[in-house]
Amino acid sequence: MLQRIYATPHVRPRPGVLPTPRAGWYVLVALGLGALALGLWAYTIQLDRGDIVTGMRDPGRGGAAWGLYISLYVYLVGISFAGITVASIARLLKLHVLEPVARIAELLTIASLVAGATAVLADLGRSDRGLASLPALARPSSPFYGTFTLVVAGYLFSSVVAFFVTGRRDAARMVRDGPRALRWFYRLWASGYRFTPEEHARHGRTTFWLAITILPLLVTAHSTLGFIFGIQAGRPGWYSALMAPSFIVLAGASGIGMLILTVVILRRMLGLRIPDASIHWLGSFLWVLCLVYLYFTVVEELTATYAGPALDRHVAHTIVAGPFSRSFAVAIGCLFLGFAIPFVQYLRAKPSVAGLAIAAGLVNIGALVKRLLIVVPSQTHGSYLALEDGRYAPSWIEWAVLAGTIGLVLLIVLVFARIFPLVHGEEPALERDAPLPRDPVRKLVCLGWAATAIALIAVGLTDSFRLWSGTELDPRLPMAPVIFASGVMMLFATAIVYEVLPARRRRPRSPRIVDRARTHAAPRTVLAAALRATERRPIPPPPPPSSPRSQP
């Protein structure tokens, strides 16, 4: 069932233990730390002097109110889309060729979501108020609500749950094989995982159901990102039903690209046992998604320019042939190459990992620039009653914060690579409906947990909509959006409860001193020695060595 794992020829595989990195790892970590420090320092300057240090200005009066930060936020959340989708699809469709990259994909999702949250915080004019007010006052009628609750709470948390649940087995292995200093961490993660068929069967179920429920959540969360722009009739260039789908597709493309890059780099730096076949599969996803996105771009362009309203045509013109034409050329060029290189490789059946890595890097650059092109021209040149056309160029502060967020992603991934195996250890295939003994307690507890979660979701969401507030402006319950988010998180945590709840088993009676005395083990206390000396019955032979654990 599992393919033969090809070791990359230049590295000796070391099964079961953490890899020792080459020099490249240290260099990248240093770069990541430097970038993060730069980003933080730039942000403190922004906090001190105000957002005037960015390149953003009032739309309609000479600038754009949203620029690199929002583009970066959308880009980072977009990257996260691919990670967890690849991992979920691999499990749902039993695509074993993708299993070696599944954990890296999930890790990338988590890292980029955390970085995305910091990017949007950097954009807020009053991030202090944002952190204090959003948990109490967030309104679901705003697409930003989906951002703050569904994306951060639902999406990030569900990814963490999936990550946790799928990593328990390897964590249990690491308790035995890993560095002693981190044993507490592995034990916590393993949460009492025992290598029994029961655990495995339960794990098969949870991974299936998690994958099934995470996918609609992903699509919803990403659609709200697209809706931020697509529902605004007053802004030509944004008002489009294609915004939500095209955001999802570009998220997939850039995410797969970032995953390919990450896998290739990590594999080289750490000598991971990831076969080329996994990367080639990702490459196929890449060119398909890039092609679909290019198709969407053509559709949008035609719609805007064929017989569209004057301002829509103007905005499209500025992007394709006007002030933004160079950026447009870069973006489309990168995305086209991101399609062409893997496609040609596919046609000629001559796959090359290096070529894929280049294509992946180009797709990411193209994606970020394209997102900037979505956000900015509709503000600088798409304002109906503009006093003047605008200009926008990110200032060094914005670039520094971008570097900081990328550095954060880099650090999270790299540091994690040193404390936990990035490739799943071998395990028997996960079955969705493997036989399980009856466990009514577990079922009851999980049902109760899930029911509480659904109740919290219902209460939190309706109150966030101000349905019970009468004529007042605020929710009736304090922290109603947090109640909703907690409900979503609890619902996903049902998977953890289901897996981690200890199974009913008959506990062996702890051996009494008398029983211990009746074995051949050397007496450890004076009392035991005395008891041994007074033994009149013959001591039974020692039991055979304990049965081997089900390990390969």
């Binding site: 002097r49 105000g50 957002d51 005037i52 953003m56 200005r57 009032d58 739309p59 309609g60 009066r61 000479g62 600038g63 109110a65 949203w66 954009d123 807020l124 004019g125 009053r126 991030s127 108020r129 944002g130 007010s133 959003l134 006052l137 967030a138 309104r139 009628s141 705003s142 697409p143 930003f144 609500y145 703050f148 931020i228 605004q232 009739a233 007053g234 802004r235 503000q379 304002s383 109906y384 009653l385 503009a386 006093l387 605008g390 507030s469 009468g470 004529t471 007042e472 402006l473 605020d474 009736r476 319950l477 304090p478």
Partner: protein, 262 residues
Amino acid sequence: MGADRRAFLRGTLALPVLAALPRGAEAAAAPHRRRRWGMAIDLDRCAACNACSVACRQENNIPSYGADPEFHGARPEWMSMLWQEPERPDGLPELLPLPCMHCADPPCVKVCPVGATYKDPDGITMQVWDRCIGCRYCMVACPYSRRSFNWSEPAWTASEQQMLNPDVATRPHGVVEKCTFCHHRVRALSERARLEGREPGDDELQRLPACAAACPAGAITFGDLDDAASKVSAQAASPRAFRLLEHLGTEPSVYYLKKERG
């Protein structure tokens, strides 16, 4: 210190009580007639002198940041004057004084994540400086581009501080601001009238906002659009009246009057 603590505890204990209290109905609190505040701007009288814009800046403590080029596009402006070059060489330029439209169906209110902007029952689209988190979503959502952001902390010289209007709070950096139809003046007038047991008269309302009061041509009229006897409702029903971007369905409350050009 003891009084502080006690008061603080009472404050915290008030929270569960607050949650349990029945919500007061707006109608019971405000037995006065519901209004629909609106404005009419007569473009045939407007000479683009900008007195409205200047008066608005003075009334609402809008910072100007001098002539620093870094602040281009970063100077808040509530009442703008849109000037478009004439189509014909001998024609007149198009002039449009632009306050906030106070739309009846405002896109900005829909997109605010924290409810820092909301639609007052009397028709004013309010902006709450103290709640705004500065995400600027309302700014990009406004089709009329009538919102400004405080990109920096306003700094007032000593003499400028003396000129600040105490009736309007100054905004810190990081919040969005916009025209409020001089809500503070409307509020004070309503209270004074209510004390005297009457409703504010249309003659008091017509020149109530700072821009209307300052216009030397009397081009700006304010009042209750639902009051059939008010000047603003008569102007809104005039054949010369039109609104901006009506096809977007925002239902603005600001009417412009202009003779059809031949």
